[in-house]
Structures are given as structure tokens and as C-alpha cells.
């Protein structure tokens, strides 16, 4: 039988390279001005944090300067109530949130920060629960959702407090707390996505191939939930940073000696009468990073929905 090329389908047959593909998926970010602004904000802090791994203007914990200096040429952002350089502390403060996790054993350090691990945790747990609830439905769904409802009923901060009251402080506890508080939201999202996606014909196709439920959930459904999931994760990292800041402010966040933005605000607020800058900078840091992630997520979401249309 003669095979004819449909004219409209005549596209250069050169398969795009992996890099080109990656660039293409990244380019979606630059399509949106909002997402670009957001990414720049986030990258700003990531880069600052990376720099701080090898260099900071001054040692972050060393009280080398006069206390409570306003911004000046030596200390660009001023000094805090113990005469420490605020810029250095801010830079290092990025690390625990975004770049490293301190394990309680022998001062071991693990790459990637507490906020991100927490979100990864909630995405893993939430995706697992949400996929099962959404795809399997019935009994699975009832039990899972009931359980998640119970978790959601906890005011988040209260849940943090309970977890921390029970387990004490530490990077891992904060990660656990973020995971526990974030998982129900992710699960609900993934569940609703799974409920939608599972009505698609390609799921029927997989089922009629006799694929196992695990295959259907993780290979067929999950990849198609990634768009909203990535957007949601961005927002969640924002929440997590917000929450870590709040915990730090309450004095039950990430343990010392690394500076913690929330704790910096807490310590500086007592001296706010004489030195507002020391409160302003970490506040701006938290807010800008959270705003950055929000904008990034918003822009990404807009682009993704546009893309789907």
C-alpha cells in the first residue's frame, strides 16, 4: 500500500536535542513577565546563598562592629544589636532555607534546604495519598480524605507547635512539620487532578492494556499533574519559608548557630526603637523571597493554562 505524507505534517524530521527541549520548557518562564520577575527574585537569593557558601563579607556570627549601625559603606545593610554584619547574616540565612539541611548526627550537612525538603516531603506524601485516593476511589478515597480532613482541621501553626512540642527543635523536625502540614493540600490537589485525569481516554487505554494501578498512577497520571503540582510546590516553598520565618520569630524554628531570618527579626525587634534596619532587612528578605515564589508560580500557572489552551 502506498504511503503518502500528509502535506500539513511535513515538518523537519530532525529530533530536537535534549538541551533544546530543556531550553524550550524553560522559555515558557520568559514568556511571562510576572514569572520572569519572580524567578529573578528567587534566583537573587539562591545566588546570594551559593556565594555565602564560600564567601561572606564578614563572618556572620562574629560581633566585629559597633552595635546597631545603620547601613554604611562597610556594612552595607548595617549591623545588628550584637554588632554583627546584617548582610552576611542574611546571606547565610538563605542556606538553611534553600541550600542545606543540618542533620543531627555529628554535624552532617545535607544539600538542599529545609523549606525545599519539606515541600518535597509533602509532595511525595501528598502525591502518593492523592493519587491513590483519586485514582482508586471508593474505600481508599474515603479513608484518605477523612484522614486528610483531620489533618487540615489543625491550624497549621498549632500543628507545628504540637509537632515541635512533641519532638523538639531541629532541621529535620521542621522538615517533618512542613511535610505534615503541606501533605494534605498536595493530596487534595493531586486527588482532584487525578479525578480529572483518570477520566481521560489514555487512562482507559492503559487499563485496557492491563497496566497495574501503580503504573497508571505514577506513569500515566502523575506526569500530567506536574504542571499544577510544580506551580503548587512553588507556592508551598513560599509558605514554608513564611512558616520557617514565623517559627524562627517565635523562637522555635531552626536551631542556631546559623542565622535564621525569622529569628533575626525576633531578636532585632526588641531594638526596633533604636535600629529599624535590623528588622527591615530580614523582613524584606522573607517577603521578597515569598513574593518571588508567588509571582513565579502565578506567571507559570498563567503560561501553563495558556499553553494548554
Amino acid at each position: 500500500m502506498a504511503v503518502a505524507q500528509p502535506t500539513a505534517g511535513a515538518v523537519p524530521s530532525q529530533a530536537p536535542s535534549r538541551w533544546a527541549k530543556m531550553w524550550k520548557s524553560l522559555s515558557i518562564i520568559f514568556e511571562s513577565r510576572i514569572a520572569t520577575v519572580g524567578m529573578v527574585l528567587v534566583l537573587f537569593w539562591v545566588i546570594l546563598g551559593l556565594i555565602s557558601l564560600v564567601w561572606t563579607p564578614y563572618p556572620p556570627n562574629a560581633s566585629e562592629f559597633t552595635q546597631n549601625l545603620p547601613p554604611n559603606t562597610t556594612n552595607w545593610l548595617g549591623t545588628d544589636h550584637l554588632g554583627r554584619d546584617i548582610l552576611s547574616r542574611l546571606m547565610v540565612g538563605t542556606q538553611v532555607i534553600l541550600l542545606k539541611t543540618r542533620l543531627p548526627w555529628g554535624g552532617l550537612v545535607f544539600p538542599i534546604g529545609v523549606a525545599i525538603w519539606g515541600v518535597i516531603g509533602s509532595v511525595l506524601v501528598g502525591a502518593f495519598l492523592g493519587l491513590n485516593a483519586g485514582y482508586r476511589g471508593g474505600w481508599w478515597d474515603q479513608v484518605t480524605m477523612q484522614f486528610l480532613d483531620a489533618l487540615i482541621a489543625f491550624p497549621v501553626i498549632v500543628l507545628y507547635l504540637v509537632v515541635i512540642a512533641a519532638l523538639g527543635q531541629g532541621d529535620l523536625v521542621v522538615i517533618l512539620a512542613i511535610t505534615v502540614t503541606g501533605a494534605p493540600g498536595v493530596a487534595r490537589l493531586v486527588r482532584s487532578l487525578a479525578l480529572d485525569i483518570k477520566t481521560r481516554d489514555y487512562i482507559r487505554a492503559a487499563e485496557t492494556r492491563g497496566e497495574s494501578p501503580w503504573y497508571v498512577m505514577f506513569v500515566e497520571i502523575l506526569p500530567n499533574a506536574r504542571g499544577p503540582l510544580i506551580v503548587d510546590s512553588m507556592l508551598r516553598v513560599g509558605y514554608a519559608i513564611f512558616a520557617i520565618g514565623t517559627l524562627g520569630f517565635l523562637g522555635i524554628g531552626l536551631p542556631p548557630p546559623d542565622p535564621d531570618w525569622g529569628n533575626m527579626v525576633n531578636e532585632a525587634r526588641k531594638n526596633i526603637f533604636s535600629n529599624q534596619w535590623a528588622v527591615v532587612w530580614p523582613s524584606v528578605a522573607i517577603a521578597s523571597l515569598v513574593i518571588g515564589l508567588n509571582l513565579f508560580a502565578d506567571g507559570l500557572r498563567e503560561e501553563l493554562t495558556r499553553y494548554q489552551k
Binding site: 487540615i152 501553626i157 512533641a166 513574593i291 508567588n294
Partner: protein
Amino acid sequence: MARFIIRSLVSTFITLIIVSVALFLLLEVGSGDITVKILGVFSTPEQRASYRNQLGLDDPVYLRYIDWLIGNEWRAERQVGFDLVTAPNPQTGEDTWWADVDGQLIRWSLEEGELMKLVRQEDGSTVASLADAVWTTDEGGQESFWGVDDKNNAVKWVRGEGAEVWVLTKAGLRKEGDGPQDYIPLRKGLIRGDAGKSLQYGRPVSVTLWPRVRNTLVLAGVAFLVVMPLALIFGIIAGINEGKPIDRFISVTSLGATATPEFVTGIFLILIFGIWLQWLPAVAIFTSADAIFENPALLALPVLTLTAVELGYVIRMTRASMVEVMGSPYIRTAILKGMPYWRVVARHAVRNALMAPITIIMLHVNWLIGGVVVVETIFGYPGLGKYIFDAAIFGDVNAVEAAAMLTVIIAVLTRILGDLAYTFLNPRIRYA
């Protein structure tokens, strides 16, 4: 609709059970040896073990959970053989436990091997006398007696074998002979309002908790009343002007407000209005129990702080919903029916646009409570949030449990309200 509501009630009930189990496991079981917290770090293992027995901590977990949730005098009554009742302590008004023996309220104590009977008088004092022969002999030939001691426990004494126990007096631990062999610390259980004693304040949790709950309800309620209309109005305005400057302005401002943590907003509000300008009270100093009613200005900054954060969130929700609704076919229908714009917005769009946010807003009461914890801490506002925070920091397990349970109940109740509002707004459910 009935089905919807009943489902939601049943689900709420199950939720509360799960939450209570989780709380109990986390705090009572998960948080390590509570006796260390009570007896202090200088206590010895022997003292802790004795005290664990007195607190009933050696019982299986499920039994402790039941005791904690619904009380245990019914369990103790089977051992003691009399009804167990409470009567107030004439001085403190706190409940004390007694056995009701033919109308007489009685406790026992073992002194020098002799069982003494303490009969409660009208005025609350007790008269001691030697108890009659009450020992019963079990199969092992052991003579024992179950009764109520003077520390609100149902206890088992064994004749001639007074145990050596470490008793926690207000003065600290003291070793006593003549102690009981087994304890059931009597309590009514959480659902009957007995949350145990606060380890921090030493008073029953229920006594210290309620004024705090009232204060928080006032704070959160006022914040809610401020946030809701404003947020819905701004959200709707932004939503119907999608993409226009006013939308950009509202969206950016609300994003900024949402992304700025409560503690930052709060601190600067304190600095500006409380300390620099001195227009408003910087922190919530309750010089009397009804301070918020006598001086409502105390609420101003906490409410403003809560508003700033919550407002942004709800505006964003409402806006998104409004945008979606405004793009829906039935709005197109309404416009193409030639309805004036404001009629379209007011009659066709708003109601549908509020459906989604209202449920989410009600779910968001959790966040509000979370925000309340922070706000109350910043402003020193004596409410539930600060109560939980202080209790958690102190390790006041009983208080954390009760207060956390209460927040969950509040959250769940608002969720039901949200469901009801949704039902009301959505005829698809109302007439299903």
C-alpha cells in the same frame, strides 16, 4: 441537602476522633517521659517510676486514651463498688472525687497500716474515723481494698503491704509508706470538660482556658468581620477589572500583604502607631479581664495585623473566582441578553463567584487561627493562640491538648458553616 449536611457532620465527628487520637499519641506518648517535666530533671528514676504509676501512665495506651477523652470513673466504680462523684473543694472550688456510700461522701487513707475513713461534711471539711472491716481477700490470700484516696485517685491498698511511694506534694517529692499498690487517677475526660490540670499554672485547664477563648473569639471575630467585606469587595473589583490598572494595583498590594509575615506587619505597626505616634496601644495590656470591652482600641493593631495578611489571601481567592465566573458562558448569556453591566455583576456573577471563596475562606479559618497565634504572641494578647504557644513552649501537655482540640473544633465548626453557606449559595446542592 440533608445528605450533604449529615455527611459533613459525620465526617466532622470522625475528624475529631482522628484528631484527638493524633493529639493524644503525639503529646502523651510521643513527647517522652512526662514525669520528667512534672518532677523536674533532678528527680530519680525510682521517683519517676513511682509517679508514673500514680498517674496511671503504666496503663495501656488505648485505656489512657479513653480515660483522657471520656473519663474513667465508670472503670474505677467497678473496682470500688460505689458510685464515684465529685464535690467542690470549698476553698478553691476545684472538683474533688468521693465515693458515694449511702449518701455519705467518703474517702479513705491508710495510716500506720490502718484504713481511715474520711467523711465529707456539709461545709466541705472531713471527719476521719477508723474504717470498718472492708478488706476483701482474693484468691492469692491477699487482703486488699479499693477506695478513693485524698488525691483524687481510685487506689488499691493491700493490707500489711503499704507500698513505698513517692508522693508529689506541693513541696516536692516525698517518700511515704502505706502507699497504695495500684492507681486509677480519676478524671471526667476531655469531652466532659475535664482537661486535667495545667502543668504550667497548676489550675484546671478548663478554668484558665475559657477567658482566653473568649478573647480570641473577639479578636478573630472582629478581624473576620473587617476582612470579609473588604476582601470580597476588593476581590470583586479586581476580578471584574482583570488586567486593568486597578486590578494590578489590588493584586500587587494584596500579594505584598500576603507575603509579609504577620510578625513583620505587627512589629512595624507597633513601632509606627504604638511607639512613634502613640496613637494606639502598642500591645494588648489587659489591665482588667474585660479590657477589650473597656478599651476597644486594644484590638486595633492586632486586628489590623491579622487583616493585612488575611485580606490579601481572600482578595486573591475572590479575584480568581470572579475572573473565572466573568469568563463563564452564563455571564456571556447575561451580557448578550442586554443586561446592564452592574446587574450582570451583582445578580449573575457575585453569587456564583462567592461560592468557591466562601468554602475556602471557611477552610482558611485555620490560617486565621494560625495567624492568631503569631499575632497574639507579638501583641501579648491573652488569647487561645498565645495560650497554645505558651503551653507548647512550656511542655504543658494537658493545656496543649485541650487548646489544640478546641482550635480544631473551631476550625471544624467553621468548616461546617462554610459547607452550609455553600449549600445555601449553590442550588445544585440545595435542591439535589
